[in-house]
Symmetry: C2
Subunit: 356 residues, 2 copies
């Protein structure tokens, strides 16, 4: 049996912690390092800093290149940011050092949308360096794009696609809640939108273009709208209290047009404690076409857990992929790693798929 797949986490926040814990648990994967941006965390034990309830013997590093040279990882999982521009430098450093990259930055799920030049730069560099780069996560990356694409696979023709994800924000921290305008008055929510403090969901264009690209639709334009979800009741969290008339979350919607007609509608209302107003959260996909399709689940697939699992579960597929920049629709479907991760990697245990 070959040595384990050597993994580092880039980011030691809540998501980096969840990802690190999964890597520690999986057979065939070895967590060999952790990079954190915050200087005050340098030198701390990753397990303690990330709240894993154990020491890992891995000290958080503030120097990414140093960490790579010292630990020689096969693959890195990036969990430091949402934006492509912010994620880029770390990705470039990793790729230049011959490290495969899985990023949960939302804009990396389909980077050609936000900045085609950066996407091409990363693609070429990865191809040159012989590694793969993938953006993934629950959304963008799964519920409102990959699952939708998979369902289109049973269709002969499609008139329109509608997908909705309604979720509970209460598991999230203050910065996520602030980005959704939680606790504001409706007027402050509007000002927040204008000033860019309230952003709603990051990832609608990424999901839409991933779908359109996969099925061969040319999208003319995307219209996005963000409305406050005004609470009728009191909703209380440790660090924010929403009274009646205040904002409990953001109903963010995107509509993509083709030949002047709306063809893809994605809706993502996010709020704290939706059950207090009897709102049933969940995921729902509806395709009008040949045939018509409907698939739904309630409650929603939990975002944090799902994103961490996807990032780790995609490791074998990323190691197997042709060098370059990939999107979820270009790789095999994610699959839980419940056995030895090495068995899914070509060349690590004979032929792929030969585990039986």
């Amino acid at each position: 049996m070959r040595d384990p797949i050597r993994v580092i986490v880039v980011g030691t926040g809540q998501m980096g912690a969840g990802i690190g814990r999964l890597i520690l648990d999986k057979r065939g994967l070895e967590l060999i390092g952790a990079y954190g941006r915050r200087p005050e965390r340098a030198g701390m034990d990753f397990g303690e800093a990330a709240g894993l309830g154990c020491t890992t013997g891995l000290l958080i590093s503030n120097g990414l290149a140093d960490l790579i040279e010292r630990t020689r990882p096969h693959v890195a999982i990036q969990a430091t940011c949402s934006r492509l521009a912010d994620a880029k430098d770390e990705i470039i450093t990793l790729v230049e050092h011959g490290v495969h990259v899985i990023s949960i930055a939302e804009e990396v799920a389909y980077p050609k949308h936000r900045d085609p030049e950066i996407a091409i730069e990363i693609d070429r560099l990865a191809a040159t360096c012989g590694v793969s780069v993938l953006g993934t996560g629950v959304n963008p990356g799964f519920v409102l794009d990959l699952l939708v694409i998979a369902l289109t696979g049973v269709c002969a023709d499609i008139a329109s696609i509608r997908a909705e994800r309604s979720n509970d924000l209460s598991p999230y921290g203050p910065s996520v809640l602030a980005s959704q305008g939680v606790g504001l008055t409706p007027e402050a929510f509007q000002r927040g939108l204008e000033h860019g403090n309230v952003v709603g969901h990051v990832g609608f264009p990424e999901s839409i273009y991933m779908i359109a690209d996969a099925i061969g639709w040319e999208i003319e334009r995307i219209e996005e709208s963000r409305e406050p979800i005004v609470s009728k009741v009191r909703r209380e969290m440790p660090f924010v209290i929403v009274g009646p008339g205040q904002v409990a979350g953001c109903r963010h919607r995107a509509i993509a047009y083709r030949d002047g007609k709306p063809v893809i509608t994605l809706i993502h209302p996010q709020q704290i404690y939706p059950q207090l107003e009897d709102v049933k959260t969940g995921d729902r996909i509806e395709i009008i076409g040949r045939p018509n399709l409907r698939l739904s689940g309630s409650p929603e697939i939990p975002g944090g857990e799902a994103t961490a699992a996807l990032a780790v579960n995609m490791i074998p597929h990323v190691l197997n992929a042709a060098p370059g920049l990939h999107v979820m629709a270009d790789l095999p479907v994610p699959a839980a790693i419940l056995g030895d991760a090495r068995k899914r990697v070509h060349g690590m245990s004979g032929l792929a798929g030969e585990s039986r």
Copy 2:
């Protein structure tokens, strides 16, 4: 723009007809030939014989090798049978002539289960000849395996998987209904099971091993059970009448065990006119794990339409794949072809995914 992707259909029955019609409709695909097993169809126009309501100018051939040599297809879609042993010779002939193969034969969805030697033979021959072979279809191939696998991708751990597909058999013909025991007495159904005339669903082990292989579970054994669905009401089709007390279909179930415990349960009740007894058909997947997941849709994804669409929609992925034998879990998710099919094929229009 390069020439279209040249496709032949192997099989001119109901499924071959549906697949042929789709190929005729898709930009970038060209239907260039049709092979049929039945001698009486040789020389007939494919469109007329298949009931497409038009002539196609393609005469059905009884000689597969001759047809290939004359038409030089890139890819063939096989829709002649359900069993691997029955599908094998046509697949070998196609592969030896350098033709990629997509088969809707149920046992080809995961051929290592039924006959590992045939699977290895096809894999090696395909690799040698530089082509890919894939089995697909609604089930096995999609609802009870690929969709399940995709959902496991958001899981950190899984205790058990349960998936159920309840469908209406009334769109199908006499041979399918006979294989499910429709119209028999419960006693004749039992005798049919013993004699192998009543078979239920073909594909449970294929789906189970595809899932287990993808997530890394070792399956000890599979228990299958087939029970008659005894009608309480009269259900009438053109060629069979089911009276109260007679069999309207087959409730087929398979349970896979691991470490002595049931871990994958697949249930597939199939009957004619289930709505006459207020049975709601549909697809449902339930995963007990971290997190728990539930996804369902009603009515069921229509089997015939979905299988034809999957077979055609997988063409670009099969052309892009590394030479050899593949299963659905090893290739990118299926996606409807709504633009030019060539744009999804590497090397036919620059980089894959560069259609924007």
